[in-house]
Amino acid sequence: MSEPQIAADTRPWRDPARQPFIEIRNITKRFGDFTAVNDVSLGIHRGELFCLLGGSGCGKSTLLRMLAGFETPTEGAILIDGQDMGRVPPDRRPTNMMFQSYALFPHMTVEKNVAYGLLREGMSRREAYARAAEMLKMVKLESFGRRKPHQLSGGQRQRVALARALIKQPKVLLLDEPLGALDKKLREETQFELIRIQETLGVTFIVVTHDQDEAMTLATRIGVMRDGVIEQVGEPREIYENPKSRFVADFIGSVNLFEATVEAAAPDMMRLACPDAGGAVLVPPQTGLTRGQTVWGALRPERITLSRDRPDSARNVLRGTVEDVGYVGHMSTFRVVLDTGRMIRVTEPNNLREGKPISWDERVWASFRPEAFKVLTE
């Protein structure tokens, strides 16, 4: 894939020679006979906003807690800025954490909560409170310093938690589901607020989330986790467009998955036998595949075009009947039952269509380009 190379220093992970800022080396964590994190290795660079994405119980929070020092790895090592964190207790680590529950001290005012970290360093009260006031200004809560946490709304508490975690200017900020407790609209606003703050301060953020939209919006890179293992690491676009496995393809966004067999490699096109799709599917030639091998094809719903007449130019065309149409404002989602009996999902933006929209029970052609059919071996 050729993607535009922007200024190299904004994407240090693209340079394999660059030493990562945080090195996670073969980390394993077992609780009794349950393995929460299984031999994970990961490098995160300075200034990144890295998202650990996965369902509940995938080990993402355990990994974050090991970075903070609340859990000790069973095996492996964590290095931050070249320093081994092995025996460093949480109160001596250059990390700070924003907790999922925010964990604001209920008996302290907002400014005391925010200044807490500085006072522990032995800073004078006057300076600590002055800095806390500055921090509160950055999260737009300058007039709330004297309130107690229970007098704030959920969104305000979230910002206090962020201010408190950032005030010591940690090398790494760990965020556990930072937006999980907010409602949808507030969450979207706060996502961009988080990015703004991260870019202003240049602190490395590691965010744990189960929300793929959140990860896609926030992250410079995403690590998709399942069963204690990182399935794939990459930029949001890379993860979405070129998932490595069926799990990643299915977890990020919605996808139509087909089972297929490698049939023949023509010089310019490779042919897959895909009974579910009603015959052969043409894809760009790929290395590492042998004839007769079972593979899977991932086809994003927005990569499929529906039409009443058979398109002439398309290489891959399927025939089916529209079973269901969902109108979602900016786009429509279709459920099309192919003649093979297989159901596929198709989405189309509503501004493209001219004339009478395709409706229930219509016979349609579903076509897609060869590149749209991503071949997966896992």
């Binding site: 903070a68 020092g69 609340f70 207790p89 949480p90 109160d91 001596r92 680590r93 990390t95 700070n96 954490m97 907790f99 529950s101 964990a103 604001l104 001290f105 209920p106 008996h107 807490y116 970290g117 522990r120 360093e121 107690k148 408190r164 975690a165 010591k168």
Partner: protein, 317 residues
């Protein structure tokens, strides 16, 4: 009033009848539920309090009952109310009473502090223990209540005597040459009170400390607080309600304690419970004894009401 079928909360037939009767009288179920404890307090606290208050205003006479009536009819039939504050003046004049009050307060305060110092780590340890062990430890705290309180105080006498377990052990171990005098001292009283009321300190503290959120402790550690600093800046302030409740439950019974100072204390251990006993049964001066009781009640209730109002104000804030 037709009941919806299948609703488990629907009243059964006899209740419905009762409710209707009370309904005619203008009494709702809610009033009824509150009325029972109110009635209890009225009969067993407020009425005896007024009886005491009335006796404290009388004069002692040799009669049965041993105090003057509250009112008398004169020869011409006018009603005369006889009340005197003489007994309260007497309490103020005789240093014995002031000393007894002060000494009681001192013993109760010291005992409460020691109960807190011993009870807090125990409550903390129990609250932080994993579940099966936690129940066993809690049971062990409550276990002494299954034996008689008097028996347990007598057991302490056996420990603290000159030829008791502790002295014998210390002499055997070569720590001391001659036995220590522990029984019939204030020290023995402190031991008795702290031992007896320790569970009342532990249980409210435990209830408070189990609610402590691990995330708060982790947040403190994350922000650079050592375990010690975390304890003093987070755990301790958050457990303040438990400390107040436990201290009240120890302080209030300790201040009026009679049995423990009588059995373990010496002749110079002056506590108000003992003065009260002497006035009632030795001097048979019921009016002075009542005045002593009323003053003690005021001394105990006033700080509690103040604390309550402070706490309410804090919660409202």
């Amino acid at each position: 009033m037709s009941a919806a079928p299948g609703n488990p909360l629907t009243r059964s037939a006899p209740w419905r009848g009762t409710a209707r009767v009370f309904g005619w009288l203008g009494i709702s179920g809610r009033t009824l539920v509150i009325a029972i404890p109110m009635l209890w307090l009225l009969v067993f606290f407020l009425v005896p309090f007024f009886v005491l208050g009335r006796i404290s205003l009388a004069e002692a006479i040799i009669a049965r009952p041993p105090y003057t009536p509250l009112w008398e009819r004169d020869a011409d039939g006018t009603l005369q109310i006889i009340a005197t504050l003489e007994n309260y003046r007497w309490l103020m004049e005789d240093r014995l009473y002031a000393n007894a009050y002060l000494s009681s307060i001192r013993i109760a305060v010291v005992s409460t502090i020691f109960a807190l110092l011993i009870g807090y780590p125990m409550a903390y340890f129990i609250a932080r223990s994993p579940e099966p062990r936690r129940s066993i430890l809690l049971l062990l705290v409550i276990l002494p209540f299954w034996t008689s309180f008097l028996l347990r105080v007598y057991a302490w006498m056996g420990f603290l005597r000159r030829e008791g377990v502790i002295n014998n052990f210390l002499i055997w171990a070569g720590v001391i040459d001659s036995p220590l005098t522990m029984l019939q001292t204030d020290f023995a009283v402190y031991i008795g009170i702290v031992y007896t009321y320790l569970p009342f300190m532990i249980l409210p503290l435990y209830a408070n400390l189990t609610k402590l959120d691990d995330a708060h402790l982790e947040a403190a550690a994350d922000l650079g607080a050592s375990p010690m600093v975390t304890f003093f800046t987070v755990t301790l302030p958050l457990s303040l309600p438990g400390i107040v409740a436990g201290s009240m439950l120890v302080f209030i019974p300790a201040i009026g304690e009679y049995v423990i100072p009588a059995l373990l204390g010496g002749p110079d251990t002056l506590m108000i419970g003992r003065v009260l006993w002497d006035e009632f049964f030795s001097s048979r001066d019921w009016p002075v004894a009542s005045a002593v009781a009323i003053v003690m009640l005021v001394l105990v209730v006033a700080p509690i009401m103040w604390l309550q109002s402070v706490q309410n104000r804090r919660e409202l804030k």
